[in-house]
């Protein structure tokens, strides 16, 4: 019992020593803090989601110039170009939409109506329109009004009225 306890202690001690050896080696390899913070602050000012290059600022051995997301520079470039194009198109659409409310719909309709009906404004009329006009045509196209007759002394007696 005592032996196993002693072994347990030694085991922990040995493990800790091994890990501390590893720690000493890792610490010697640690990158410079200042440089990393500066790059991190750069990321904060120009957040891109994924950095253009690795944090170490050097190509990783197996992947060349790649960032945290593992994207190559050419892919980043294509993605950036596409995003730029979409942004420009969106901006153009925005400008057009923003400008259109300046000419109101009612104003537009008024201009079109005037143009279509006013000969002075350029409305088209057929040269043979006059041939279709008949005498008394206005009687066919207007409605008689009731209660506003031109008879003096009111309406004449109806022919069906019987006088004693």
């Amino acid at each position: 019992m005592r032996e196993s306890h002693r072994n347990g202690e030694l085991e922990e001690h040995d493990l800790r020593e091994l890990f501390q050896d590893m720690k000493a080696m890792d610490q010697a390899r640690a990158p410079e803090f200042r440089g990393m913070v500066e790059r991190a602050l750069d990321d904060r000012v120009h957040p891109t989601g994924e950095r253009a290059a690795g944090a170490s600022g050097r190509p990783s051995p197996s992947e060349g110039w790649r960032g945290a997301g593992g994207l190559s520079m050419s892919r980043r470039w294509r993605r950036g170009t596409l995003a730029g194009g979409l942004l420009a198109a969106a901006a153009l659409a925005g400008i057009l939409l923003a400008r259109s409310p300046g000419v109101s719909e009612a104003e537009f309709e008024r201009v079109v109506r005037t143009f279509a009906t006013d000969p002075a404004g350029g409305a088209w009329r057929s040269p043979t329109d006059g041939l279709l006009e008949l005498p008394g045509q206005n009687l066919l196209s207007t409605r008689p009004s009731i209660g506003a007759s031109g008879w003096p002394g009111g309406l004449p007696a109806s022919p069906t009225t019987i006088h004693p």
């Binding site: 050896d21 990158p31 913070v37 904060r44 950095r51 170490s56």
Partner: protein
């Protein structure tokens, strides 16, 4: 060192104070990032810088519910997991170059340097064969000198669960290291 870890940090801190805390933890944070990235150095740097970026941009905010270190290690851990999910392809590890570099950076004699580098390489290989939870808890306890409760906080698991991972991981690691044999520079059971 312990004082640094247990230092109380106000949740509402100014950027200068924030950077000072990050700087104090920098090498430990890098070690933790390395462990989370399978000791892939460029990836660990990416992860750590992304974690810094998140903290400095305010995307990750310290709420004061744990120590600053526990919280920031959690940020690193989450960032590493997101990176691992995104990346399908792992970097080739340059074991021999790393070992040679490590050897040059040590102050011991050449034989001892070689032995240490080889020992660490064996330890890393063994750790890679553990489950992620076991690897995490062993790293936090033995490398970062955290208590199991602190490690549980970083791992976002209960203390009981962390303890189970710790015990099982330790036993498994011991077995794996024994498999390597006495010639590998790993301390053997005495």
């Amino acid at each position: 060192m312990r004082a640094t870890r247990t230092r109380k940090v106000s949740p509402a801190m100014d950027p200068t104070e924030l950077v000072a805390h990050l700087q104090r933890l920098h090498t430990e944070s890098f070690g933790w990032a390395l462990s989370n990235c399978g000791w892939d150095e460029p990836e660990a740097e990416d992860v750590l810088q992304t974690a810094y970026s998140r903290v400095l941009s305010g995307k990750a905010r310290f709420g004061g519910r744990s120590s600053f270190r526990t919280w920031f290690f959690g940020v690193i851990r989450n960032t590493a997991q997101e990176t691992a999910r995104r990346k399908r392809k792992h970097h080739q590890r340059t074991e021999s170059l790393t070992a040679a570099r490590e050897m040059l950076q040590q102050g011991d004699g050449p034989e001892r340097q070689l032995e240490r580098a080889e020992t660490v390489r064996t330890l890393r290989a063994a750790l890679q064969r553990l489950s992620a939870r076991q690897r995490e808890v062993l790293h936090l306890v033995f490398y970062q000198d955290m208590t199991i409760a602190e490690a549980a906080g970083v791992m976002e698991v209960s203390v009981g669960s962390a303890r189970t991972h710790y015990e099982r991981g330790k036993a498994r690691l011991r077995t794996l290291l024994k498999e390597e044999g006495p010639g590998e520079g790993i301390p053997q059971e005495r």
